[in-house]
């Protein structure tokens, strides 16, 4: 069981959270101009990093806010050196 630090509620059990996948996947500025290949890449392709990974979490059973966490996917260590603004964006 991971303890995930919700920026609002503090550390809570993993069971209270919903995983949102890779963070910082930006929506294409002009979706009409994107080729089918690039669109599919945007929709379905995500990094599968072994090591430090920036990801989105939602505190589903708590305050229901989205936030960003940096986690080592091999050890589940969560890094706390991020600013509040960077986490709650």
């Amino acid at each position: 069981m991971m303890l995930i630090p919700c920026p609002w509620c503090g550390p809570r059990n993993e069971t209270e959270f919903h995983y949102g996948g890779q963070a910082d996947v930006s929506y294409p500025a002009d979706p009409q101009a994107v080729s089918d290949v690039d669109w599919a890449r945007f929709l379905f392709f995500r990094a599968n990093t072994k090591g430090i990974f920036t990801e989105r979490w939602n505190h589903q059973a708590g305050c229901r806010r989205w936030f960003t966490v940096r986690r080592d996917t091999t050890t589940n260590e969560i890094f706390h050196d991020d600013s509040h603004e960077a986490v709650t964006r």
């Binding site: 509620c9 809570r12 059990n13 069971t15 059973a61 708590g62 305050c63 806010r65």
Partner: protein, 195 residues
């Protein structure tokens, strides 16, 4: 035409809760039909200040903080979300007060009185009882009077409100459709206290 009457979500579990109570140790009961209104507004906006003035206390801005007035309890639910609890029958008036104070600003005021019912747990064993199904630290040092938390209790989403630490008293806000399950779970968890 049949006469309309209101029935609280735990009306069929009233006896279960009463039967699980042990005098001087633990008391379980339903607090039914409270007025509950959800408010969402930017806490830094002038509207938030106007609402604070209208209800008689500033909206709490710390996670888990609860503000009280004579009639209301205001629970922090998120950085821009609050749950206001008032006496039975007061939802419409509360909603009108908040809507007027919100004015044209971006936000929302919704009557959610039917969303959740409340189970009141009091008595010296109440903390121990809740700890059986809740991962939060409920010790008075970390979960004091007038604090609330949204979490899981017996795998059910609840809002926990600590009303008093000296004479332990908690309110558990649970969704109506989960209320009977939670009442049964509480009765089962409280069985050991019956002599």
């Amino acid at each position: 035409m049949a006469e309309l009457h209101g029935e609280s979500p735990l009306v069929t579990r009233a006896e279960t809760l009463a039967g699980s109570s042990v005098p001087g140790v633990l008391h379980l009961s339903e607090v039914a039909f409270t007025a509950q209104v959800t408010l969402r507004v930017d806490p830094k906006s002038p509207a938030a200040e106007r609402i604070g003035t209208a209800v008689g206390t500033m909206l709490p801005n710390q996670p888990g903080q609860v503000a009280r007035t004579e009639r209301l309890q205001i629970l922090w639910m998120g950085p821009d979300e609050w749950l206001l609890i008032g006496p039975e029958g007061g939802a419409e008036q509360l909603q009108a007060t908040l809507t007027e104070a919100l004015g044209e600003e971006h936000g929302s005021v919704v009557d959610v009185s039917g969303h959740r019912t409340i189970v009141e747990v009091t008595g010296p064993k109440s903390r121990e009882l809740l700890a059986k199904g809740c991962a939060l630290d409920l010790h008075r040092r970390s979960f004091a009077s007038d604090q609330c938390a949204q979490t899981l209790l017996a795998r059910t989403g609840v809002v926990l409100l600590c009303r008093d630490v000296e004479q332990p008293s908690f309110w558990i806000f649970v969704r109506s459709s989960f209320a009977r399950y939670l009442a049964d779970w509480l009765a089962d968890a409280a069985a050991e206290y019956r002599v």
